[in-house]
Symmetry: D2
Subunit: 293 residues, 4 copies
């Protein structure tokens, strides 16, 4: 005998671009370029056991709702949009008791003074995940992904244990490079939706300033310090999680060619890579509940 | 004040190919083509707080260990390899109390009767995740990913609720296509490592047979049935989890061109896509513990 | 002063799936899963110089035409489909004097005896490029891409020049692995469209048999031999072009761990990789004309 | 009987990062982050016909040479580096008569005032392809790739022919978005290598200014104007080639939900996409020779 456990379903990767005509700085257009994924849970045993869809809001309808809400709500912050959409699904569909909304936001930069012309911004993506649960309440997580940073020096790595499989030499000077994925949990939804933008700016700024200003002995240490500074910079946040690949830059051995390599020429490796994951919370962080599910 | 929470670190995507010379059928070579990721947890506060690496087995050493173990253990089943490697890290490193090992295995098919020639197999990847925890014990999860299947008929979708954002027509005949990611939890590590191959074969065979033989009213129903049949076919397993994107094939409207489209011509869409996730367990499944972390 | 030179435009990557109901072996459905790109040239100076679109068949119309032709022509060979579509554009649009049609075909294998169930086939893709030019006539190129093959031995590499930057040791035994992209030019369009399937089978079979049966001293030698055998196996062809990345498998040095590595444990590298390109023609090949443009 | 035709071989995607310590603005480090591919041609019949490698400079040596030259030449412009490397291969290897060098350069931006900290720049990649041929001389092509731009208005598309497969409505207001790949040919190698940077800046600036400042009736028109302005801005160039995918943004129909969509909410489609290719030359451009091979 088997039993159905946790399940959810939804529409993934709805690509939505919203243009607020003339509402940006100096009358420029303001753009929201989003990749939206919704996922619903609730009384869904019937569809699994017998294919009865009477509780299954079609994923096509979820997509339609995202587009309709974009028109209704305008170009608001992604966290606020995700909250509104999540609440809608739970409150309007009797069988649906929980909604997860995820949004990736891609940045666009105005081209010169042209109010209608833009270039895609840097590689980083702004992210958000909202959970709206009928019983366990609401959680908001923001973050940034694909933010690639590098320190060309001020990074050491030594003092690690040397077992029988350890061949790595110690180093007092290496390149430290990583592709940051960071997620930060809000203590509670913000009263003023516009503040989500400020938190994003404060958190990414703290992250970058800390990365640039730290003399590092390990990527884990960098993770902890960046988390600490993010929490300090944005008191609306209570927890930070990082996933940090160590993008290895190996000094090339030029000795066979009679050349020195005084920390100048590196091979940037693809795979394998170190991978550092960690979580740092404020002492008084409220329970995480469903935030990370 | 902030505090360090859950953390782990390791080497991701170690690409290892092992050739067992002449040990395959009819004296052919046997190949293991793996992508290995290891991740360690334990007494790692010091490296986060002060960059003290004395407990940090270098990720480079983790990579070396994988290569050395491949030579020592030969071309064994990936679940068994992951178990051995995980146990090694926890038992040999005092500070390390938990190891997670993940392996993706790519298939190669012998070319004709040539004992040394191979072509990469179908798109599916065999997967495994092993957790070895000093206190909470050992878990083994196997699975398959990127297995793309399609039913050209015998799929309906109707009876779903119609809210104000629902425009999708009901259908009594559609294409059902998905790219299967399935993971199955073993009740306990197998006594005979060779049996992992049999479980993999039994589970994927049950999955495919069920997909092919089911008249479907929803992808959720298919998920449940496939899980049920996997658990029936492989009693060593106690739980199955699926992630099933609904790869939409939309019937193209050819009316504007004076043509019928009697379920012949489809547009295969990229994004968005439906996404169905679910878990099915045996009634008597042991607790999952850390298996899915 | 500047002048407009060569130009073309079209619709790229039209994803089309055609299901021929019950026309496959034993009454199974027959599937054509295509990625179609069309590109048109002709009297297009006006649109470049002044944005006058009167000669510009919309790329949306090109897409529509592909879908309509799929219904009209049924599940024919991709080379024949590309020919028909290319001819249509040139003969129906006065301003269009040349069309290039490209199709990638993905294979599906029937699941057991189920007439409506399929799994995506191996990784290789069947390809075709057709040029239909009002003045210079018609060319047909077929091919295969993403066909990954490996010989675990029977490959040497030595005798290469040793300049001041050469550190690579010679080897009398290495793994030879590559991801084949091959293109073959037909002497002329085939009279019977069904023969395209036979040529594809004969060419890929000759390619694989040669790869498996050859003791290799260089990937270039393999390229030449595979080309030669393809031309021998399919006299309808007159020229073959290969792009062969040398997917390096480096023997891992296990000496530091007191272990031998008797050609057992390899690191499969991503980048960089060797890249071998070459062309082999029949002595009596007709001129290539526009075939490769 | 078959004969060997055009061929070349080399090392692809050598990932090289060069750090010039303290030579950037205000004593910051200067970074060159490159993906280098070299490809050699010459007297290579023997290796194809018999596997005789005596003329085959190993691709591993080509990689080594790139690293060694990076140390010797320092962080020079990529065009100059490619020229030096290409010349080296042809002049030092008797059998090699032609070399093609390709470099992709990824930008890094200094983080604040920190001299050693950087973030990966925008998505665009700077590109170069150099051909050095013993008989036919030298060509230099620069360019930019993956530069994503969008005009939210000032784009029309109408007046195109309406055949039986045309359903696309005309539009007087649409989003125009594309991912620019542009390549520009230099009249001759520049006397002062530092000028390559100025040409790159002038060309990309002209490209962006034209894109932003143009009221467009077709993407072809935009292609021509951008080419014209690039050639005007950088007289060292004589030819420009563009590949411009039309990244469709479709206005979502919100009428079923009782909502207007006044050019606010769009669906950003993946596939298919329009694809516009074209070439524009100066009247007095020297012959292209081997530049684009």
């Amino acid at each position: 005998m088997v039993k159905l456990g946790f399940n959810r379903y939804g529409k993934a990767e709805v690509r939505l671009v919203h243009v607020s005509r003339g509402t940006g700085p100096d009358g420029a257009d303001a753009i929201r370029d989003w990749n939206i994924s919704s996922s619903l849970s609730g009384e869904l045993a019937a569809v699994h056991l017998s294919g009865d869809n009477s509780n299954v809001l079609a994923t096509d309808s979820q997509k339609n709702t995202a587009y309709a809400f974009a028109q209704k709500l305008g170009g608001i912050e992604p966290e606020a949009f995700a909250l509104a959409l999540a609440e809608h699904f739970v409150t309007s569909q009797e069988a649906i008791t929980r909604a997860r909304l995820q949004i990736e936001e891609y940045a666009w930069n105005q081209l010169g003074a042209q109010p209608h012309s833009f270039a895609r911004g840097g590689q980083q993506t702004r992210t958000t995940t909202v959970i709206y649960d009928q019983e366990q309440g609401v959680s908001v997580v923001g973050g940034v992904a694909d933010l690639i940073v590098m320190n060309t020096t001020n990074s050491e790595f030594w003092g690690f244990p040397r077992d029988e499989y350890t061949t790595l030499p110690e180093t007092k000077d290496r390149i430290l490079a990583t592709q940051v994925t960071a997620s930060w949990r809000f203590r509670e939804p913000l009263a003023d939706a516009a503040d989500y933008a400020q938190v994003y700016d404060a958190a990414t700024s703290a992250l970058l300033t800390t990365f640039a200003g730290t003399y590092s002995y390990s990527l884990q240490q960098m993770l902890y310090l960046m988390s600490e500074q993010i929490l300090k910079a944005a008191p609306q946040l209570c927890e930070v999680r990082f996933v940090l690949p160590n993008k290895h830059h190996f000094l090339v051995d030029l000795e066979p060619f009679g050349l020195e390599n005084d920390n100048e020429v590196y091979f940037a490796a693809d795979r394998p890579y170190g991978l550092i994951e960690g979580q740092v919370s404020a002492d008084d962080a409220p329970p995480e509940g469903l935030a990370w599910t």
